[in-house]
């Protein structure tokens, strides 16, 4: 089973949508994949879908790092695929 180039986008492309939920800019956040341990910028994740379900997969092993489902009025979030998420904050 080989994987070919697909219709995914970079983590960057989802950053606008995710700002609605996290308030933080996530593209520079560091992620660790809970499955293979790869540490990478969220921008390097592979984003599939968008509407209503968005899924960001590890660029190393395709494990889902983050799943987000949006409906009007509710958002569901699954972060089980992340060992950690380190988000840069700038201080005043």
């Amino acid at each position: 089973m080989d994987r070919s180039a697909q219709t995914f986008l970079d983590g960057n492309a989802a950053a606008g949508e995710l700002r609605d939920i996290f308030v933080l800019e996530l593209s520079t956040a560091t992620t660790q994949c809970a499955s293979c341990g790869k540490i990478a910028a969220f921008a390097e994740a592979r984003v599939y879908g968008m509407e209503p379900g968005l899924i960001a997969r590890c660029s190393g092993c395709e494990n889902p790092l983050m799943r987000v489902v949006k409906s009007s009025g509710r958002v569901w979030l699954d972060l089980r695929g992340l060992q950690f998420l380190e988000v840069p904050t700038s201080s005043v």
């Binding site: 089973m1 080989d2 994987r3 070919s4 697909q6 219709t7 995914f8 592979r46 599939y48 879908g49 509407e51 209503p52 379900g53 899924i55 997969r57 395709e62 889902p64 799943r67 489902v69 409906s71 509710r74 569901w76 699954d78």
Partner: protein
Amino acid sequence: MGLISRGFTSKRDTTETKLPPGQYLTKDFPVLSAGPTPRVSLDTWAFSIANEAGESKQWDWKSFRALPSEEFTVDIHCVTRWSKFDTAWEGVSLDTLLQDVKTSAGFALAHSYGDYTTNVPLADLRDGKAWIVFKYAGKELAPEHGGPARLLIPHLYLWKSAKWVRGISLMTSDKPGFWESLGYNNYGDPWREQRYWGDV
């Protein structure tokens, strides 16, 4: 509502009366997937059905294609709001595949190559309502549309029609699939607009 953009109108055709609520009609066949497209070779392809006792029946490509198949034309509805009318498929009815499977299970979970799963009541796979399809519009089903073979349950939103299907587990209790576990409706009837948890 946002600021109206002068001269902007949707190109979406929502006037067709055969459309379920909230859908628009498309002539294209948009590709939507939750992950990379698996390339499954026919030499290694297999499809199995396991009952609640763990007994399973398996088909390789050759034995699967030797089963009687049906050609049929149906409308399909995607939760991303497009619907496509009169799509022509060829596939093996789940009635055929379930024929010799001993079960009193009420629920089914379809598994795909890759990590996708989706759940349906077993009754929705029976009585000519569901197929494992391998041809679309007269041609072998393309990988981006779920080839070599996908589940097709046209009376439910299309996320239930698992692409690259490789098996179905029959269960006595329900188990939500990939999207059903995160907000998507457990049943997904487009005519009742069951998109999300709580839509009845």
